[in-house]
Every structure is written in C-alpha cells, then in structure tokens.
C-alpha cells in the first residue's frame, strides 16, 4: 500500500554517505521522510512533531559509527527513540491484590473490549490458573451481554448475568459482591463502547470505576485508528486512572501509529496486542516489533543490529565463511540458523523487518511455523555429531532412532533431510549473499511457513 520508507530513504541517505558527523543539515531530509512515514502510519500530528524534535536533538552531534552510513545512524536513533517511547519492557498485568482483583475495560464503540475481555480471561485461566468471573455492563448495544456470555462459556470463565434494563452501576455492585462470595481471583468488567464527547456516558464509567476500584483499568484501542486517537485517549485518561492499553486488530496491515499517539498522550504502557478474533489471539506487547511496523521500513538496520546483539558473533562469522565458500553448510549450521532466528524474536518479528517480504501473515499460521521450527531443532538435536556433519549416512535405522528421540515420525526426519539438501543447494547459489538473502531464500522452503 504505502511506499516503503526504506525505498524513499534510499535516495536521501545516499547523499548522506561519507559524512562523519550528524548535523541539523545532513539529517533534515531524512527526518522529513521519517515524519512522512509516521504520518502515513497514523501517528497523530502533534505526537509526530514532539517525536521528531526529540530525535533531532538526540541525533545532532553524534559521530557516525564506521559500520553505519549517516542515514542508517539517523534511522537507528529514530528506531531507538520509538522503542524507548513505547516502553522498553513488556508490562504485565498487576493483579496482586486481595481478591477479587478487578479489571475494568474501557474504550470506544467497536474497539474490541468484549473480545479482549474474553481473551484476558482465557489467558488468566490457562496461564495463571486463576478463577475468573466476567460481567457485562453494556446494557445498550443489542445482544452485547449475550455476546459476553457466549464467550465466557467458551473460555471457561464464570459469568455473572446482567439485564439490559439494569443500571450498569447496580450490575457492577452485584457482580463485585458475587465475586467476593464465590472467591473469584479476578473479576473482569466489560463496558459499553462510548464516545469521549458523550458526557453522561463518561460520567457513567467514572462511577463504575469508583464503585469497583479496579486494580487494572485498560483502555482498548483499535490499531486502525487515525489521528483522533489523541483526542479520545486524552479524555479517557483524564476521566479514568488508566493502568494500561490493549491494542486490537493488529492482525491486519494497519501500521498502528495510534499506539504511539495513545502511549504519548496517556503515558500508560501497552500491555497486550489483539492478534485475531479467537479467544487465544492475545499476545504480550513487543515494542520493537511495533516500532518497525510503524516505521514501515522493512528495517534491515534493526535486523542487523539485533543480529549483532543476539547472535553469537563467532558462529555467525564461521557460518558466513562456510556460506561464502558455498560448501560445508551442515545440519549443525542449519540448527544454529534456526535457533538464531528464534533468538531474534521469531519468524513474525523477522518478517516484519525484511523488506520485500509480504506483511506478517496471520498469527495462527505463524504459530504453526514456529512450532515447525522447534520440531526441526528437536530432530537435529537427536542426531549424533557425525550425522549432523554428514547427513548422507542417515539411513533407515538411524532415521528411526532420530525420530523416536525427537518424538517425531520418520517422515518428519525425511522431510527435514530433503529441506536441508535444498537449502544447501540454495546456499551455494547465493554465495556470499548473507543473512538477508538467505532468509528470503528460506521463503517457502520450510513446511508450515506461509511465506
């Protein structure tokens, strides 16, 4: 859809090449492109302005590392600033209070509150073994209560029934009481969607908050939201003591700049991403992924950088040598390669960073892919060093042993060997293409991987 920032920047950045220090002048153009990229990603204009000013002052005067071009140096500053702004760490829910810990959901109409309520419940039930009760205070939207009731039974949460003719405040009081009586660990309160300019409705949710005294008040935001995100976030944040944000519908291809707007306006951490309609489609938030996505730059630099940080340098160099010689790439290297991919944040995060690859496919497919990757690693782990170096010797009985050792089938071992042979051929063809080409070459070669 959008022109790639990488593409756009290329011309600008070429001009910067060879300068040793970043100055107002030599970064002005690059920053203009960054501004455009942020706006295209729907970051709100005032947020863009503050951000660019911040980046400018950070960048000017910096020496350009010999390993980077000045343009890349600017991008690195931009990227780092984005990650910093969105919170370095993934913030979890804080539910350590005397039970029931109450979670209040708030947001505009259609943002994903009810679905997120169910997802959170499932997450807490399955991962943290909590007993969870759900209640709907949405007495306005037709069948909203029923929607939550269905979802509650799907995820195995207790459901506290309410009726459209009740007052949300009464529902909240009764649910809180019931959660106490039934000794639930967590009570999640879904609410009706409301516009921030709707004074009576904002008053209503303020009242709910004071009745419930929630330990978490989560603002649910659609990742497709445009510039208005600053206005809504500001009012919700003033009306309620928000503790975090859930960014929904990130399984699409919206660049999600609203996340940055909301983060800057509220100062509250993004705690989860909604990545699909099903109740298991909830993920912890990774600032790096979102930063790359907002910049939309198929961020080779951050890939390289992350690679530098996480990949064992020696191994990488060894591998590079082997690859450039076009020979000697064995199963051990293959496994390292898979493990490194994992270290760098998995396939999803890699894909977000590679220019020219399609947008992240849906989460389910990716999970499949990652599972598959783990299986490959397990198979290789069950081989002897000799087998890893010389896969040719792997015949019938060895195959059966390896399959048994890794909890897989002989067909799986066969498939891996076939892939490996294909990979080897590919490696030879690429010569010294490096990681980028290699990853692109991987496209479609690993089963279950959709790219």
């Amino acid at each position: 859809m959008f022109e790639n920032l990488t593409g756009r920047l290329q011309t600008t950045l070429k001009r910067l090449r060879g300068e040793a220090r970043l100055t107002e002048d030599n970064i002005a153009e690059a920053l203009r492109e960054v501004r455009m990229a942020l706006l295209e990603a729907d970051v709100a204009l005032p947020v863009v302005k503050t951000f660019i000013d911040d980046v400018r002052s950070k960048a000017v005067g910096q020496d350009v590392l010999t390993s980077l071009t000045p343009g890349q140096a600017v991008i690195k500053v931009v990227y780092d600033a984005l990650v910093a702004l969105m919170g370095e760490h993934n913030e979890r829910l804080h539910l350590a209070v005397r039970p029931p810990a109450v979670v209040l959901m708030a947001g505009l109409q259609g943002s994903g509150k009810t679905t997120s309520t169910a997802k959170l419940a499932r997450y807490l039930i399955e991962r943290e073994k909590k007993s969870v009760m759900l209640v709907s205070g949405d007495v306005y939207r037709p069948a909203a209560i029923e929607q939550l009731q269905r979802l509650a039974s799907q995820v195995g949460a207790q459901f506290f029934p309410s009726q459209p003719d009740q007052k949300p405040a009464d529902i909240a009081r009764a649910a809180l009481e019931q959660a106490r009586v039934s000794a639930s660990d967590v009570l999640i309160v879904d609410t009706a969607g409301r516009l921030h300019v709707d004074a009576p409705m904002m008053e209503e949710i303020r009242a709910l908050q004071s009745i419930l005294n929630p330990v978490e008040t989560l603002f649910v935001v659609d990742s497709m939201t445009g510039q208005d995100a600053v206005n809504t976030a500001k009012v919700f944040n003033e009306a309620l003591p928000l503790t975090g944000v859930i960014l929904t519908k990130t399984d699409g291809d919206a660049r999600g700049g609203a996340a940055l707007s909301v983060r800057q306006v509220t100062g509250k951490p993004i705690k989860f991403l909604g990545v699909g309609e099903k109740t298991d489609a909830l993920e912890p938030f990774h600032p790096e992924r979102l930063a790359s996505r907002i910049l939309g730059m198929g961020d080779v630099l951050s890939l390289v950088e992350q690679a530098q940080r996480t990949v064992d340098q020696d191994k990488a160099q060894q591998l590079a040598r082997k690859i450039s010689k076009g020979s000697g790439f064995d199963l051990e290297d293959f496994r390292d390669q898979l493990l490194q991919m994992e270290k760098m944040g998995g396939i999803a995060s890699l894909m977000d960073k590679m220019p020219g690859l399609p947008k992240t496919p849906d989460a389910e497919q990716l999970q499949q892919g990652e599972k598959q990757m783990n299986r490959l690693v397990a198979i290789i782990n069950s081989m002897t060093p000799a087998e890893r170096r010389k896969p040719d010797i792997i015949r019938g009985s060895r195959k059966r042993r390896i399959a048994a050792g890794s909890g897989t089938q002989v067909q799986d071992v066969n498939r891996l060997l076939k892939q490996f042979t294909e990979m080897q051929t590919m490696m030879k063809r690429f010569g010294k293409g490096g990681m980028q080409k290699m990853l692109r070459g991987l496209k479609g070669r690993l089963p279950g991987m959709p790219f």
Binding site: L108, H196, G226, G252, A254
Partner: protein, 310 residues
Amino acid sequence: MTSPGSAPQSTGLFGRLSDRLSATRRALAQGFNELIGAGQPDAAVLEDLEATLLQADVGIDATARILETVKQSSGSAGTRAALRQALLDLIRPCQQPLAIDAAHRPYVIMVVGVNGAGKTTTIGKLASRLKTEGHKVMLAAADTFRAAAVEQLKVWGSRNDVPVIAQQTGADAAAVAHDALQAAQARAADVLIVDTAGRLHTQSGLMDELKKIQRVLQKLDATAPHEVLLVLDAGIGQNALAQLEHFHAAVGVTGLALTKLDGTARGGVVFAMAAKRPVPIRFIGVGEGIDDLRVFDAVEFVEALLPNGD
C-alpha cells in the same frame, strides 16, 4: 449528546445533523478560523492548513494535492474559500444517494467491512429508513461467526418489525444468504440487506468467504447483490485506503457508509479515497439510535468540516 438507547430528539434533519456534527465542526473550525482572510496564502497559512487536513486523516498525499489546488486557485476569495472549494470538488462526485431500483426485486444490499466498523447497526438504521420509505425489507444474518451477532441483528429486526433470516452461529454464511434471498423472493420483499461478519481485508480466507456469499446470491439472481456497501468507522486512519482496495477487488464496492461521526473523528480519509477511487458515499452514521443515519451530502459534509464564516 444523547446516550445510546435514549430517544432521539427531533429538531429536524438539518438541525440534528449540524447538532451531531458540531463536535466535528468545532474541532476543525478552531484550526480554520485562524486562517481566514483573503489574498495569497503565505507559507505559515499553508502550513496551518496542512496541519488541519492531516489531523482530519486526509493523509499526506491527498493533503498535498489539495494544498496544491489551493495555492493555484486562491485569489480574491481567500484561502479558506479556495480550500472549501477544493474539498468540495473532490468529494462532490461521491454524493450519489442509494436508489432502490425497482427493476431489481428484491434489491439486495450486501454490507461488508472490518470488525467493529458499525455494519450491523447501520443495517438496523437503514432498514428503518427504507421501511419508512415504503419498502418491504428483510434482513439476512450472515455473520455466523461472532458470538451473538445473530441475536444482535434479530434485535434490530424486531425494533423495525422486519423478518430476519438466520441460522445458528457457526453455520455457513453463504447458505444463510442463499436461504434469505430465496425467502425474500418467495415473500416478494423489496429489499434484502445481508449482514456479514467483520473481517480484515488481509484475511484471504475470509475474503473468499465473502466472494462465496456473492456467488451464491448470484445463483438466485444474476444481478445480485445490487449494492455492496462498505462500512467505515469515521475514526479510521489511512488503512481505510487499503480496505477499500481489497474489498473492492474481492466483491466490488458500490457504496460507502461512514459511521460514528458524532464523535470528534472527522472521517477525512474519504477525501483521500475520493482522490483515488471515487466510490459513492451513501450514508453517514451520527449515533447509535435507529434514526441516526443521514444521507451523505457533500456540501453539508464540507460545511461541517469547514464552516462558512461564523
């Protein structure tokens, strides 16, 4: 501001529209009121104009284009007037109200869009409007995926006292659409409105499902659906452009509805859309009540964004 569910006060169509849009209007007017005055726009004025357009989600490309027009055309009438004209020129071709063609009976309207855009609610309001106009309306609950989506549409059916053809959640959406059109034909309905599950345009499987619904409808009536209405939340950002392209490629979008204009979101992305693919904008949604649906009017829309004088 009325809360959802409360009875709408009727102060007449225009009064209510500008009432509802006044939040929008105020926000944009703030920006523009500082920019009045005739003569050549200077750089500062243009920069402010740019900011105002960008903050209304018009997008970089369309904003640049519009400003180019403003620069060239603004003379004695002033920058503000030139901008108004440019916006109007862009959006006026989209003012084509939905006309129920009596040659097609039942006239089939398929409503599509991403999750939570306001499809079902828009259908509820549209059914009311069409019924008031004297049409015999039926609804098809082809959102068989989302929990209680069928029940939600049924409530709208009973509010309007129109039949809803439905199966249980999890049923085949195309089968529901098929049954519904058959029933509508049998009962000689004038209009059949098909609700569909919200889907992101990137989900190819779900986009295929939409095509299947369309194909199945065409088996019963080769000319159906007669309207494919894409519903957009006015708060949407630049992703709306991709949504239009993908939904259009899949099922051929013939009209737009822009919902939730009762907030401060301005829906400016429709200007960017109009610049790329001018699809008729049929309706705007200005609330959650049954009467909160307005026929799109370009002059009013631009006027709501950029009030004339004051």
